[in-house]
């Protein structure tokens, strides 16, 4: 009997750990959890159906369901929710019909009063019913292929409405049944009507959940672990319940021998301290306890009932263990690194901003392209076609006019080509595509009407988007120097350093919640090259006075660089010189291939 209990509990704990651990062998542990879960369910069904007297059939049923699982795991998975629903329905039927079985309990607890028994029965059946229905709903509507948790099904109540508050916050609702069961377990030792206290506890728990949604899952997880442990203790050493205790305190401290109840039906010496009583005294029990009209005391000590109680204890404990790393664990990790949250919030804000900027910039670029093509090359090609058609008509009658038109058409095609060329240069400069940033900036310097010196040390190619952003940033800085500064000399220095980039901006958020979803992408993609820092410095000897706040050009550069976590700094005192520094964390994607 105890071996079964211990195995079940171990399996449940394994299941809880398996769900937590990302290790691939988790799948096997999960399957072990399924085995244990279904065994337990089958045993419970048999026990309830037989009114608690079916020790041997319960074990047989458990063995049979074990066979089912071993031979056909998918069927077992499908049977599980049905079994849960069956248990729930059976429990409800018991509670409603008031037929008291000789063993007055569904699982945890033996109760001095019918009301307490019924309250416990209703709650536990409700949990089973809800869990079963939830599992069935889940199998129907969501991922049918994934393993639905077994014992964890308890948590299914009301998940839908609460799901919006983050993935784990809905687990806070578990606090409600946990509180109710805890109160019943504690209260029955005092001999009070349990259902009022249980209802009160449930309502308090509900209020707590509503008020502190953030902390409720943590409380629920902690509560479930404590409750599970307590339930195990309860099963291993069932308390003796005094008859008509004068006060709860004394009743608990000094259990008296039962009076008014048939003494012969009770086992053991009740004057001894109940907690220290060896279990052997109870396991020897042969006569069934029973309820008395006046609410007398009966302790269940026989095997099958302990099995059910043990299963429930294991389920609660497993659920608690499973939940701890998901609620308290996350919070603890956050607490250990208090800066992580602030960092994360800042990062999220920054990403939101730069993403919006990137989308806006891309949309504006496309719009500009469309307009340029529409008004430029497209219009010229239309004119070209018309000219050629006119020439075609003129050839027989006035060939000289036709020749003039054809010459015009050739001119038009030339102009269209020039426009297209300029457009392409603005979209993605061909040298940039051919040679990368270093040569593209050198070419840019050659095209600049004032003397421009370059000092570029980039030992490879950057990612194309970064390259493009850097190129246009330099181009903008150069354009400003030419247009506004009156400078005679511009110097461009570009250096790539492989050292870790600015500590102010982490490459990846260190927060576990954000870091985890990124992992699959990183694993599936190619190995990330180490990120370094690209530093671009554009200096001119002009009159200074450049202000990024006034011109839209440098602001655009800043936004564009921001998409890559790059930064821009401008120093331009009146009278000059103007120094524009840009820093972009990035990786070199390939070694240099250019021939120059």
């Amino acid at each position: 009997m105890y071996i079964v209990l211990v195995v079940g509990a171990a399996a449940c704990c394994c299941l809880g750990l398996a769900c937590w651990s990302p290790h691939p062998s988790g799948e096997q542990l999960r399957r072990a959890g399924w085995v244990a879960g279904l065994l337990a369910m089958a045993a419970s069904v048999i026990l309830i159906a037989s009114g608690g007297n079916a020790g041997l059939p319960a074990y047989l049923a458990a063995a049979a369901s074990g066979l089912i699982i071993l031979c056909a795991p998918p069927q077992a998975r499908r049977l599980m929710p049905i079994a849960a629903v069956a248990i729930g329905l059976a429990g409800l039927a018991l509670a409603v019909t008031s037929i008291r079985p000789p063993y007055a309990s569904l699982g945890l607890g033996v109760y001095p009063r019918a009301s307490a028994w019924r309250a416990s029965l209703l709650i536990q059946s409700g949990v089973f019913l809800a869990a079963g229905l939830w599992l069935i709903w889940r199998a129907r509507h969501s991922r049918p292929a994934t393993a639905a948790p077994s014992e964890e099904g308890h948590s299914g109540e009301g998940t839908g409405r609460w799901a919006g508050r983050g993935r784990w916050s809905r687990w806070g609702l578990l606090l409600v049944p946990a509180a109710a069961i805890a109160v019943i377990l504690i209260d029955q030792q005092r001999g009070h009507p349990a259902w009022k206290a249980a209802a009160a506890a449930a309502i308090v728990a509900l209020i707590v959940v509503a008020l502190v949604r953030g902390a409720a899952p943590d409380l629920a997880a902690a509560g479930l672990v404590v409750l599970g442990l307590f339930a195990f203790l309860y099963v291993l050493a069932p308390p003796l319940i005094p008859h008509r205790a004068a006060t709860p305190a004394t009743a608990f401290a000094q259990p008296k021998p039962v009076s008014g109840a048939p003494q012969g039906k009770l086992q053991g010496d009740f004057s001894a301290a109940p907690q220290s009583m060896p279990k052997g005294d109870f396991s020897a029990s042969s006569a069934p306890p029973e309820f008395l009209p006046d609410g007398g005391v009966y302790v269940s000590t026989d095997g099958p009932l302990e099995l059910v109680a043990g299963i429930e204890a294991a389920a609660i404990l497993a659920l608690g263990i499973w939940l701890v790393p998901r609620t308290i664990g996350v919070r603890a990790r956050t607490l250990l690194r208090p800066e992580a949250d602030a960092e994360l919030a800042g990062r999220v804000e920054q990403l939101t901003q730069t993403r919006a900027d990137a989308v806006d910039t891309a949309a504006a670029e496309l719009r500009r392209l469309e307009r340029d093509l529409h008004d430029g090359a497209q219009a010229r090609l239309v004119a070209l076609g018309m000219n050629l058609r006119a020439a075609e008509r003129l050839i027989p009658t006035s060939p000289r006019a036709a020749i003039a038109l054809v010459a015009e058409a050739r001119e038009a095609s030339s102009r269209a080509l020039t426009e297209l060329r300029d457009l392409v240069r603005g979209v993605y400069p061909p040298v940039l595509a051919d040679r990368g940033l270093a040569d593209a900036v050198r070419a840019l310097a050659l095209n600049t009407p004032i003397r421009t010196e370059t000092d570029i040390d980039v030992p490879g190619r950057l990612d194309p988007p970064v390259e493009s952003a850097c190129y246009f940033a330099v181009a903008e800085a150069l354009t400003n120097a030419v247009k506004h500064s009156g400078a005679r000399l511009v110097q461009i220095r570009i250096q790539y350093s492989a050292a870790a980039h600015s500590p102010a901006r982490p490459a990846r958020p260190a927060h576990p919640r954000l870091a985890r979803p990124f992992r699959p992408a990183q694993l599936s993609g190619p190995a990330q090259p180490p990120r370094g820092l690209l530093r671009i410095e554009v200096t001119d000897d002009g009159t200074g006075g450049a202000d990024p706040a006034r011109g839209s050009g440098l602001q655009g550069v800043e936004r564009r660089l921001g998409t890559f976590d790059g930064i821009l700094a401008v120093s331009s005192p009146p009278g000059g010189p103007t120094i524009i520094v840009m820093e972009i964390p990035c990786a070199l994607s390939s070694p240099r291939t250019s021939s120059s």
Binding site: V424, V431, D434, A443, L446, N447
Partner: protein
């Protein structure tokens, strides 16, 4: 005159072949990729090569690099590079060896077949042909520099045409002045730019380009 053509777009390649055949050129090879170009250049050692900058396999500047490589192995191999865009960076690389016999033109220049064919002949003869766009950018860049500002407007025109690689007679025709006048202008230009005078067309062009590129 034997010519190697490298162009990856079939229609353009075919058009170039027809155009040059119509003008009496013999097509030694017409290839569509850079490795093929290098092989054809080394194998045929043609009188001139017409090369597109952007070629397979990587569709960047493979054509240019193959041409430069061929000129490294066969000094002064005449190469006329065509491109959808002109870059001074590439012009510099072509001119770097000071051997002449190079040309760098926009693809549109093919529209004017007479001038295009002239350009091929100039390059084949060891001359240098630069696209007007390259020259105007070079001049634009030096516009504020001291020596250039000393030139008269007419002298600047002559300088531009000289830099494009035209002979004195071609310049005279273009500007509707006598060849003698062109000669006078060019002497004046060389004096103002502090360059050693030269009567040889090729060396003159190279000197001017070297000055502008400095």
């Amino acid at each position: 005159m034997r010519v190697v053509i490298a162009e990856d777009l079939f229609l353009l390649r075919d058009g170039l072949v027809r155009l040059l055949q119509a003008h009496g050129f013999e097509i030694a090879a017409a290839v569509d990729n850079a490795p093929g170009l290098l092989q054809a250049l080394l194998e045929h050692k043609p009188d001139a090569a017409v090369v597109d900058v952007r070629l397979p396999p990587s569709f960047t500047d493979d054509g240019l690099r193959a041409a430069l490589e061929a000129r490294r192995q066969v000094a002064g191999l005449p190469v006329l590079v065509l491109s959808q865009y002109v870059e001074q960076l590439y012009a510099r690389e072509l001119l770097a060896d000071q051997a002449g016999a190079v040309g760098y033109l926009l693809k549109d220049r093919v529209f004017n077949d007479d001038r295009f064919v002239d350009a091929i002949r100039t390059v084949a003869g060891g001359g240098t042909v630069m696209d007007p766009e390259v020259i105007s950018k070079l001049l634009g860049r030096r516009a504020r520099d001291e020596p250039i500002t000393r030139l008269t407007a007419r002298e600047r025109e002559v300088l531009e045409l000289m830099a494009e690689g035209r002979s004195n007679s071609a310049i005279a025709q273009r500007l509707f002045i006598s060849e003698k006048a062109v000669g006078k202008h060019s002497t004046s230009i060389f004096a103002k730019l502090d360059l050693a005078p030269s009567n040889d067309d090729n060396r003159r062009v190279l000197a001017v380009l070297a000055f502008l590129n400095s």
